[in-house]
């Protein structure tokens, strides 16, 4: 998913005057090959970096880190680092992130309804 604004959501980029400011903001936040799935996975409980990576399977480390950083920057996930060796980092939804759950749920429902018809 390409962001409407390449680097974060720039209010100069999509002027507030534009009627579609709302969806544009949200879609920007969620644009990225894996973000929906990551959020979906964090929905039930906090997860370690390695768990997320294993769950997604095909994602590269660089990409995963990037997506997580963006989600963190956008305030939808928390990153908690445990000062241990080897390192342990746990990701969880913030309260803002929790508010995305209804959207994720509807999307899953929609996908289940229409996606599997193709089988």
């Amino acid at each position: 998913m390409s962001r409407i604004c390449k680097d974060g959501f720039d209010k100069e980029c999509i002027k507030e005057q534009r009627e579609f400011y709302g969806i544009a903001y949200t879609q920007n936040l969620l644009s990225g090959r894996w973000k929906y799935v990551i959020l979906w996975f964090l929905k039930s409980k906090e997860r370690r970096y390695s768990e997320i990576k294993a769950f997604l399977g095909d994602i590269s480390q660089g990409s995963l880190t990037k997506q997580l950083r963006e989600l963190e920057t956008d305030g939808v996930i928390n990153r908690k680092v445990y000062p241990e060796v080897p390192p342990r980092v746990e990701y969880s939804l913030t309260s803002k992130g929790e508010e995305l759950i209804p959207i994720i749920d509807l999307m899953e429902e929609f996908g289940k309804k229409f996606g599997e018809q193709v089988d």
Copy 2:
């Protein structure tokens, strides 16, 4: 937004076994720089190609046509051609597309709530 599968949603690409099949399907359907906004714009009524283009403003013809074709292929919008000259083409949501409205609405709500804090 990058599609999880480059060319449509290939069930070989994301195996059904995967728990995240549902959201993956939906996010695939909606991945594209302008799709959410296009659907949002079609929400209230059918629109002509030129209206959509004018509304989006910055989109190129090629991109717009591509996004519309994908949405059509995925069955969320209808394309009605009037055999006139100059041509007239009207786009509208299909019933499947209508089912995306609640998602669009929630996203807009979320965006309005969190997006404008940045002002």
